[in-house]
């Protein structure tokens, strides 16, 4: 099918971008504000927690184990050269807890759930189900958006902890089986290296990433236009935007926490 390309003025592009940011901010603000306005759909929150949290468990388990193992494998050769193979637990632990655990879990959950939310809500938009819900006197923001945001934030927090632990286990498997590192040496090193800042950073990030994943997924879903093609477009945009935002926010959060806790 031949398509005509239209030139859009930079002014219109800027106007659309500002409008999109405004709409996103409104949706994100409402998703939090709805917690203080009745009704709160606890049943839907639980259902979403099951779909998002339990449903994401296999990919989080696999990615956590793999990342931990790969980290140990890649760093071991360098550490061995300097005779520091015993530090492998320290390296895996601090990398997993502060950075890779939250980041990889965030990206995995984003790929699975931001796309799911955008396509589900997008399909509901194009089939007038969202209009039907509004017509039936129910606020879609309360019924659909807030439960997804709450469930993602809550579940990503615990998924990240699981990913961190499995990353450490993966690292241990490599260190022990391939490099013959003693179990006590690995785990005591891994445990002792962690300070408050690392744990704090590792637990703040999933909360922010969860919020980004759910609000971006819902935003693109709720702003879907143009039938099934529009649903596809929203799905792709939701994954790309949430993944990029996670990376950008990750950098600034890390920097902010370092600054806040007097480091660098």
């Amino acid at each position: 099918m031949a398509m005509e390309l239209e030139l859009t003025s930079p002014f219109d592009v800027a106007k659309d971008a500002v409008l999109a940011i405004q709409e996103y901010a409104r949706l994100a603000g409402q998703s939090v504000g709805n917690f203080f306005r009745r009704p709160v759909y606890w049943g839907d929150i639980l259902q979403q927690a099951d779909l998002i949290g339990v449903g994401s468990l296999p990919i989080v388990v696999l990615s956590g184990l793999s990342i931990g193992a790969l980290l140990a494998l890649n760093s071991a050769s360098t550490l061995e050269r300097f005779g520091g193979i015993t530090l492998i637990g320290q390296l895996v632990s601090s990398s997993m807890v502060t950075e890779l655990g939250p980041l990889i879990t965030g990206l995995m959950v984003s790929g699975r759930n931001a796309s799911g939310m955008a396509s589900e809500l997008g399909s509901m938009i194009v089939t007038e189900q969202i209009d039907a819900m509004r017509a039936l006197g129910t606020d879609p923001s309360k019924k659909l958006v807030t439960p997804r945001v709450a469930a993602t934030v809550f579940m990503l927090f615990f998924l990240t902890i699981i990913s961190d632990l499995l990353g450490l286990a993966g690292g241990f498997a490599v260190a022990n089986l391939l490099f013959g590192l003693d179990s006590r040496q690995y785990w005591s090193n891994a445990w002792q290296t962690l300070v408050f800042r690392d744990v704090f950073m590792g637990l703040v990030k999933p909360v922010l990433f969860g919020f980004i994943i759910a609000t971006i997924g819902c935003y693109y879903g709720m702003s879907t236009r143009g039938g099934t093609q529009g649903v596809g477009r929203s799905t792709t945009q939701a994954v790309v935007t949430s993944s990029v935002l996670i990376l950008v926010v990750d950098f600034f959060v890390t920097k902010a926490i370092f600054a806040m806790l007097g480091y660098r």
């Binding site: 007038e128 039907a132 509004r134 017509a135 006197g137």
Partner: protein
């Protein structure tokens, strides 16, 4: 065909709203980008009356229904629904008002992840009624549209006509004061269309519900204007010619964003406007 009864009281009496009109459009305009859809449209729908909206595709019929319910905001003018000004209400205020109105969307708009029971009971579940009460009322509403057997099915398992009837059951379950139908018989076979027309006539004559009905099918509206629902035989019966003017039914035709006709069947049949003559021929 006959449909079972649904024990619904007169909603207008129930609510005690004194407004004489169910819907009022006052100089309403709306445009999408460069295209003007409604241009200074004014009409009113008296309580208890059914008004059929006609017009070619894209003439603003469905938009009129969405504006009525506040699902869209007009660029100009005022809209009143059940005595309240929709155009000046916030979305939160509109949720309350919408609970007094039912709507049947063009493609039914059933929630595809919910079963028929949950679709029909959606409003009742939001009101936290007891399971027994919900079950009783859902079965009554489904019996009204003769689809009680589909209660545990998903919308994807139903035919187009069945989905439309489930959508009607969902719209009427809370005994609304006004109903909005968007092409309720569009794309359906004549037998199913007739079943739906009969349900609409029953809602109009037995429960005195005000209704705006968008349709492309002139014959459906004519059937509604020439028939009434007979409670005794529990079916729709044709009226003798002399009594047809008593039917609370009117017609409205939109063209190029404006109303070119608003009146009853007799006025429509005697109109000399060439466009209307061609439209109804």
């Amino acid at each position: 065909m006959s449909a079972p009864t649904l024990p619904i009281e007169d909603p207008a009496v129930q609510q005690g709203d004194s407004s004489a009109d169910a819907v009022v459009f006052d100089n309403v305009s709306i445009a999408f980008e460069e295209s003007i859809v409604l241009d200074g449209v004014s009409f009113h729908l008296p309580r208890g009356e059914t008004k059929a909206l006609f017009g070619v595709a894209g003439s603003g019929k469905s938009t009129t229904l969405k504006l009525t319910l506040g699902l869209m905001k007009p660029d100009g003018g005022r809209i009143f629904l059940l005595g309240q000004e929709v155009t000046s209400m916030s979305e939160q205020e509109l949720f309350e008002l919408r609970r007094r109105v039912g709507i049947v969307f063009q493609e039914s708009a059933l929630f595809d992840s919910l079963k028929v029971r949950e679709n029909v009971a959606f409003r009742l579940m939001e009101e936290h009624l007891s399971e027994e009460e919900i079950d009783r009322r859902v079965r009554e509403a489904l019996r009204f549209v003769e689809l009680e057997r589909t209660i545990d099915m998903y919308p994807s398992e139903l035919s187009g006509g069945m989905r439309r009837r489930v959508a009607i059951a969902r719209a009427i379950i809370t005994q609304p004061e006004a109903l909005l139908y968007d092409s309720p018989t569009g794309g359906l076979d004549p037998v199913t269309s007739n079943t739906i027309v009969e349900l609409i006539v029953k809602q109009r004559d037995v429960y005195k519900t005000s209704a705006l009905m968008v349709t492309h099918r002139l014959q459906d509206a004519f059937t509604m204007a020439t028939h009434q629902f007979d409670k005794d035989s529990n079916k729709m019966v044709p009226l003798p010619k002399g009594q047809r003017s008593e039917v609370p039914m009117s017609f409205l035709i939109l063209r190029d964003g404006k109303i070119i006709f608003d009146g009853d069947m007799r006025e429509l049949a005697t109109s000399r406007d060439p466009y209307i003559r061609e439209y109804i021929s």
